[in-house]
Amino acid sequence: MSEVFPFNFPVETAVYLFLLTLSWALHFFFVGYVVAGSVYLAAASLRRSNSGDADPIEAVVRDWMPSALGAAITAGVAPLLFVQVVYQVEFYTAGLLISTRFMLILPALITAFYLFYVQKTKRFANWRRPTRAGIALAALACVFFVGTTWMRVHWLTVNKSSWEDLGNPPLDFGNGHQALARGGVFFAAAILLGSAVVRAQLGSPGIGGSPLSGAARRLSRIMGFGMAAMIAALAGAAFVYRAWPGPWMALTARADQPYWVLMLVAVLIFGVFIPSRPEAARARLRARAQLLAAFFIAVALAGIREGLRSRFAMMSTLHPRHFSLAEKGGWAVFAAFAAVNAACIAAAIRIARSRCERQA
């Protein structure tokens, strides 16, 4: 049986898992911005005065939130597809066990979308503080609801022993602690990822205007906090997961090591660049390095997350299914159009940016 890096699985399973992992990483990259952005906007709305114009971070986040949510949703569709390919029965069962909550994802996202648009309007700035705070907090609540619902889905996909009790105990794998640990890692990583993207935006003329040193310094502090929190959350999660031999073995398995290395590289990149003076030379290069590091973190988290789940799923029983699916054909068309469309996306961004930058 051939075994393929980075997964110790036969090639068919490995390809599907790889696509699930990569697409979830992309999803989480944008989710990071949405989570961090909604927290920032909620915090800003609670401040006494409306500092939208004075605070370039707030201005850029406010401006980009609907598009970022659109990107998170678009990117979420791919893992939604591949999770059905890899873990079909597990995923469907999880969705059915929490059906109402699962379906509430939709109204929550629609509400969040329009609330982000409302926060972009000129009128919003003139509203009273309680109204502004109410809107920003409601959007944040929607985002949190959606994020925690996906976590619940994920948890049910691995806790098969709870299925026949309709999602209630007995559990293989503890509820409260692991949810807290997992949520803590995701949240801290989101703050780090989101602030890295905002930093790149502020350093990019035409997107956020030129970086203001005060804002850039604040961003560095947020990023520093995000990184420290993420490291602490990872350590906390490791401590919690030690109680379960299966997950612990997955976390420390060889197949997971490349992801831990990637995480380390990303943390080092951040470690080198966060303390540097924001207005230092080649700010744009630094911002890009951080952006890359942010993406590494998303990939690392995605890989570790899947490594963990594959422990529970007994992949050897799933492989015959993956094998028969791979036989169906169509992947070459996907590969060809993925390449063509990636080029189209790059072209669209180039067209828009060149003009926006020239004007700025």
């Binding site: 696509l19 609907p66 598009s67 659109g70 990107a71 949703i73 678009t74 979420g76 569709v77 791919a78 939604l80 597809l81 591949f82 059905q84 390919v85 079909q88 029965v89 995923f91 469907y92 069962t93 969705g95 059915l96 066990l97 059906s99 699962f102 379906m103 994802i105 939709l106 996202l109 629609i110 979308f113 329009y114 648009y117 299925w163 026949e164 309709l166 699916l325 169906k328 054909g329 169509g330 992947w331 068309v333 996907f334 159009f337 993925a338 469309n341 990636a342 189209c344 996306i345 072209a347 669209a348 961004i349 067209i351 828009a352 940016r353 003009r355 926006c356 004007q359």
Partner: protein, 473 residues
């Protein structure tokens, strides 16, 4: 024995028919998606008019229209698309599972086009106003081509469900994708997308401030050109109709009154709309105000709604023709279930199981959940309590055992005689108001009669004579 499929903890939707729930979501999604697709074509057309400063009005209109597209289609359109996945899992996990298994690479390909659509769309939304004509055209063309290709891919999967064609034998992706219904359905949907886009353009033209009435009139005249493909829609509809299996055609032509009514609704609304568009707007160049435009858009929505119900309903008794019945059981599994039972294997408890007086009723509840619940409710829409309410117990036993002959758009009963008797008892108990005590039925003579009816009915679908004739080699 064959490997049995997984059972799922299916939920009851109360008085709502599951088909109506997925249908409702589907209609909204299809309408918004068609707005996005037609909208792309319409914007490219206006951008061509605007190029080189030839028609500054067209350029202004594009920017207003695009805002509507982003606010409505990018939010609600995209999210109802995600909603279709989530709802399909709730309504019929096995069906969506089979579709994913067969076409995951097609869906993955579609996703890459969806990404282009979103990126090009947002790029235009954010920077379009400041861009020169060539760049605007490039972004709009990318957006439009990507949006149309999303239709291309999804159309192959949806039309496969009704007319799988050579796939039934070959079981390859492309034999299923390019099925007999593919082209008529693709062309029909393209024309209908252009119509919807034009109708919404009329609303936007009326709602945008700053245009004089002559300017509005000019823009409306141009937008109505997008409705010209409606001329071909009757021929495309007939072509599509002819690709349908004979029994599906017979549901539409009177075999199922509900389906015939939906077909009449779709055809009537489309004809009214087409008549107004072609005679009033294109020939007589009438002005159309916001209120009329909104009414016509509502008519187009109702045509879409009826059309989608026709598409969904005419597949019965299958969700994937020849491969999977509406209740997510395959023809092969029906044979297994007749011998070894089916619902008895369902490991998931009923939500209020402890309130059931005996295990036979629990089994009956599970039979209902697995076999009937996707198309029927108990007391709500298409409720079984009403449908079987006037039947004697003998009639119930016979009609349910001969299910596919009772109404050929229902699948054959998938279970053994004990499970059928459990269902009959369950329906009786529920119809009697769920009393606390209910005696188990142990009537051996009834069991033998049921077995006789089941054997007589066979395990194949209860096709109509027309379908039988078509099946003859």
């Amino acid at each position: 024995m064959d490997r049995l499929p997984a059972f799922y903890p299916l939920n009851d939707f109360g008085p709502l028919m599951k088909g109506m729930v997925i249908g409702g979501m589907g209609i909204v999604h299809v309408f918004l998606a068609q707005f996005a697709i037609g909208g792309g074509l319409l914007l490219c057309y206006f951008q061509r008019l605007a190029s080189g400063g030839r028609d500054p009005l067209a350029r202004r209109f594009i920017d207003g229209y695009f805002k509507a597209l982003v606010l409505v289609s990018f939010v609600l359109g995209a999210l109802t698309g995600v909603g279709m996945w989530l709802t399909a899992i709730q309504v019929s996990p096995r069906t969506i599972g089979v579709m994913v298994d067969e076409f995951h690479w097609v869906w993955a390909t579609e996703w890459t086009f969806f990404c282009v659509e979103v990126v090009a769309g947002y790029a235009f939304y954010r920077c379009g106003v400041r861009l020169p004509d060539r760049s605007r055209m490039a972004l709009l063309a990318m957006y439009s081509v990507a949006a149309w290709f999303s239709l291309f891919w999804i159309n192959g999967i949806l039309s496969w469900q009704l007319t799988p064609g050579a796939w039934v034998v070959r079981r390859t992706v492309w034999s299923g994708f390019f099925n007999p219904g593919f082209w008529p359905s693709l062309l029909y949907r393209t024309a209908s997308s252009m119509t919807i886009a034009a109708l919404i353009a009329f609303i936007v033209i009326n709602a945008m401030p700053g245009f004089s009435s002559d300017e509005r009139r000019g823009l409306i005249r141009r937008a109505s050109n997008l409705m010209l493909p409606m001329l071909f829609m009757p021929a495309l509809a007939v072509w599509y109709f002819l690709t349908m299996p004979a029994d599906s055609r017979s549901w539409l032509l009177g075999g199922s009154p509900a389906m015939s009514l939906f077909l009449a609704g779709a055809a009537g609304s489309s004809m009214l709309l087409g008549g107004y568009a072609l005679i009033g707007l294109v020939r007589q160049r009438l002005y159309i105000n916001g209120a009329t435009a909104t009414t016509l858009t509502a008519l187009a929505f109702s045509a879409t709604a009826c059309g989608e119900f026709v598409r969904e309903g005419s597949r019965k008794p299958y969700t994937v023709r020849e491969a999977l019945y509406a209740n997510s059981i395959t023809p092969e599994e029906v044979k297994i279930a007749r011998v070894a039972g089916w619902a008895g294997r369902d490991p998931y408890p009923l939500p209020d199981e402890s309130a059931y007086p005996n295990s036979q009723l629990v089994l009956g509840g599970k039979v209902f959940r697995l076999q009937c619940g996707v198309c029927h409710t108990l007391d709500g829409a298409n409720g079984l309590t009403h449908l079987v309410g006037t039947w004697s117990i003998e009639q119930r036993r016979m009609n349910l055992a001969r299910l596919q002959h009772t109404k050929p758009f229902m699948p054959p009963f998938a279970g053994n005689a004990d499970e059928l008797e459990a269902l009959v008892q369950f329906l009786g108990w529920h119809g009697a108001g769920r009393p606390r005590n209910w005696t188990r039925s142990n009537d051996e003579a009834a069991r033998r009669s049921i077995q006789g009816w089941l054997d007589e009915a066979g395990t194949g679908p209860g096709t109509t004579p027309a379908a039988e004739a078509e099946r003859e080699p």
